[in-house]
Symmetry: C2
Subunit: 350 residues, 2 copies
Amino acid sequence: MSQYWTDIVHQLNPYVPGEQPQDMQYIKLNTNENPYPPSPSILKVVESFPIDTLRRYPDPESTDLANSLASYHGLKTNQVFIGNGSDEVLAHSFQAFFKQSKPLLFPDISYSFYPVYCGLYQIDYKTIPLDDDFCVTLEQYAQPNGGVIIPNPNAPTGIALGLDAIETILKNTNSVVIIDEAYVDYDAESAIRLINQYPNLLVIQTFSKSRSLAGLRLGYALGNADLIEGLNRVKNSFNSYPIDSIASAVAIASIEDEAYFQQCREQVIASRDWLNQALVELAFKVLPSSSNFLLAEHQSALAQTLYTELRKLGILVRHFKTKRIDNYLRISIGTDKECRALITALKSIL
Amino acid sequence: MSQYWTDIVHQLNPYVPGEQPQDMQYIKLNTNENPYPPSPSILKVVESFPIDTLRRYPDPESTDLANSLASYHGLKTNQVFIGNGSDEVLAHSFQAFFKQSKPLLFPDISYSFYPVYCGLYQIDYKTIPLDDDFCVTLEQYAQPNGGVIIPNPNAPTGIALGLDAIETILKNTNSVVIIDEAYVDYDAESAIRLINQYPNLLVIQTFSKSRSLAGLRLGYALGNADLIEGLNRVKNSFNSYPIDSIASAVAIASIEDEAYFQQCREQVIASRDWLNQALVELAFKVLPSSSNFLLAEHQSALAQTLYTELRKLGILVRHFKTKRIDNYLRISIGTDKECRALITALKSIL
């Protein structure tokens, strides 16, 4: 607390990212990072980057990257907005669309950054409970609202909605609906193909998970041109040049290496299915995941205990002290070797 | 305009960055970029960057870079806040400190992003006129206020205040005073040494100008630990990981190459002094600059005409359509060769 802070800053309850400890080498299964490196093609891009050009500001519109994303997703360039990680894209979106007289709606168990953005921008919100199986229920999103945001697949449950469900939500509101697809590449269906039908749909994706570029901070939104223009108005009132020149060049190279992208994606899905089964055999209840993580509860051992014991053994997983899931662990999918190490460690603890 | 935008987005009047045209090669003297490349030592850092690690999120606190900046400036690490360019640092600062019941004060001629931030965060502000010589006047900053922000040297005038003047402003208010030192390395005195005396002082600097790293997006704030904590609360409610891993490593290498930094800085100052004199000889009135640009008005030719004619000759300068300076050109200092080309072009136009 400080006399210099504004009222909003005093009231903020900032997001707490998964720990990134520097004290030793952990098997990091706590922040949903990709266990595989980014496309080998980016090595050349980085190595040969003309560093003299860094004295220049980057293109404020990141036009080349926007063109590349538009073409990859079958959209027009004016349907693409790029930000410094999808968290920044989300922040701008909350400010651009969700401060309304009616409340924003999102699931009670969901990305824990959403209520933080609401605090930052003083947005009224209402959470809609997931059902007993942790699935998104549709009916309540039809109530009067100032916007809807749903991660698909949801985090930290990993459970995906079908496009028919997304359409039901879109049809029942005139507000902006954001589908936050951070994890969509791990088996869920993207809502991108609904964009030209629904002017109120914004889809947000990231380079941090399936493209192994969390370290470079790149996310983007896809939607109707006037939603994108709204985001640009906010961005150009905040920071004209959010995307650095190296990041932009690397991201384009990543998009161009489709084969590698598919290969890593499939490998993570295969490891997830193996780990899911192995956890079930150790008496875990595992939610059906379409993402690169599993949310799992042990029949008898406490999540807090398992988290602590795993940490001692050099394995980090994530434990949210959130109602209804406070006895679950969220486990990011590692390499097969890391997944096996986790199972071995769990066996020794249990 | 769109039914989906919030009221704030409708009212925004976004910042317009200097043009970055892609149609041809210009002599770019319009965005205050450094004419010299960044330190050669960063080449090795970029070339040998372990790209495999990009799959990981960066350190959310950018601890290594914060330590490096703290040590360079003789402060503690908890007195340093790092952002994705100083524009982002400014944006967070406006939100963290300036939304108050009393108005924020800044000069009427100043960085044109300030009123934009005020629009974004609904901050009440009042501009204080520069005097007839375009100098900051001190008296009016003593009136009741919710904060003060002054670029030093001021932009786009280039004129610097002495530390005694900064202290006068600090002594006359209990609000946060931000000294925006984007251009301080070109001959002005930094207020950093006042930080431990004035808990309400925040100094903001950038890697974009004197460190030739505009393309990498790095800026920082230095101040009392609880101001920095306020900024961290906002940042952690907006984007946990604003600084990418490559940018962070490059910035550290830049700080370590002090000799190169000094050499480029001095070369720009020498070129500025030469260009100043050459413009005077062409009948320009040139404001006394402590920055890497000159604000200059011709005795008879109109700024708009000169801007247009220079553009046709492949030279970009900046022309602000702002009252009192709408007949001035802001000219960034280029290499000696670029400065000479500008003078040759101006001679041919005049």
